[in-house]
Symmetry: C2
Subunit: 244 residues, 2 copies
């Protein structure tokens, strides 16, 4: 049974302010919750689920705090348009303060604002083995329920940092910084990279000027016809598929 | 001024049944409408716009039927969550009955259902110079306002056919048919193609078995880590960036 006070508490976690204060986020649906349990069980603090889901997942759930609730109760606390069997409260991941950039690919997101794009980019990074992403502070919050959903579980495997981008980039001295643009070197002619920082810009404005100045190389996806632009996540997928 | 009867008529075009009956679709927003006017002016039947948009675009609008309306009137007929200066009624494009596949790349979409994905794939096709797409009859309608919006104008440059896929594919004898899958030949090792049919499957179920049997080659995007899948539009972008 779901206590009223708890329902209220979960609803507040739709807001960034409360998520940050509590250090937790909401994950929903059998696929995502199962992946989090398999990947990082210690982070899953509480589970609210329908009886049949609990019965089916007994093995996975040992030592996890579970509350059996009704479909109507789940509907009340769900952030999805259609609730889906299970909702988990998960501890926000610790990223540590410093991140190392040598010997690996690091993505930088300069003001990616659409939660769907943000989540999809995390999923793409995971697919291509990219371990870390640095976002400008004005990018979408990765713990926004829409972002969490769009990552399809990849949120548990990719480290995401938020930072004053300009300051952070200025400190990265001995590594190449690539800016993805509408003009630049054709990415399909580039060799695979073993290390580097790849910057992707805002959905409509692209990379801001002050960030662009810190890049060493401009790269692009060659356009054959008149299409105005590519979706930010599609562009990230294409670039990573060529250089990773 | 917007006559009540006309407002009602435009609202009905949110439904596929009425769009088909009338042979028209709705396009909204300055960017999209401008692109349609530049690309295929004859197809733009009627424009409903705010005074300032009409004043700014006088040159483009010669010989087009224009009705000046208020922001409140536009709000009433808009299919967007926030209406945006101009709405056009556009004739659905004629595709002709037969399409030639020799000497070019043809995309085949087997039940792509999300309007955002459908629109984004049309935009990607345009970017990489793909001229035609064949969709299964159960795919999203390209004249759905969300699809039109997501194409960002590319809808005017890419021909989209709907067909009984199995029958249509069975007739394509002398051309290679590629199926994009979770396993197959790594697309990054393939040569550029000058012709071929590339099949993309449904967002969760992939390509149906009966369609898969008609393919000659299975191709894939190599996965480095555990991410469960790639978004359908992202996968299309990556595949086309390697073979086009």
């Amino acid at each position: 049974m779901l206590v009223k006070q708890k329902a209220k508490y979960i609803q507040t976690l739709g807001q960034k302010k409360f998520r940050q204060q509590e250090g937790v986020f909401i994950a929903e649906g059998p696929k995502l919750v199962k992946e989090l349990l398999e990947e990082n069980k210690a982070a899953v603090k509480e589970i609210y689920a329908l009886k049949d889901w609990i019965d089916e997942n007994k093995k996975l759930l040992a030592k996890t705090e579970i509350t059996e609730i009704t479909a109507a109760e789940l509907e009340k606390i769900s952030q999805l348009s259609t609730s889906n069997k299970v909702l988990a409260l998960v501890k926000q991941f610790e990223t540590g303060k410093e991140l190392a950039v040598r010997g690996k690919i690091t993505l930088v997101l300069d003001c990616i604002q659409d939660p769907g794009n943000m989540g999809t980019i995390i999923r793409i990074a995971d697919w291509f083995g990219v371990e870390q992403i640095v976002c400008s502070n004005d990018s979408a919050d990765i713990y926004n329920p829409k972002v969490v959903q769009a990552t399809m579980g990849s949120i548990a495997r990719v480290k995401v940092f938020y930072s004053e981008l300009k300051e952070w980039l200025a400190k990265q001295k001995d590594i190449r910084i690539y800016a993805t643009m509408l003009e630049g070197q054709d990415v399909s002619t580039m060799k695979k990279l073993s290390e580097g920082i790849i910057i992707f810009g805002n959905e409509s404005k692209g990379i801001s000027d002050e960030i662009l100045q810190l890049a060493n190389v401009k790269i692009t996806i060659l356009r054959k016809r008149k299409a105005e632009s590519l979706n930010a996540a599609v562009a990230a997928g294409i670039i990573l598929s060529h250089i990773c």
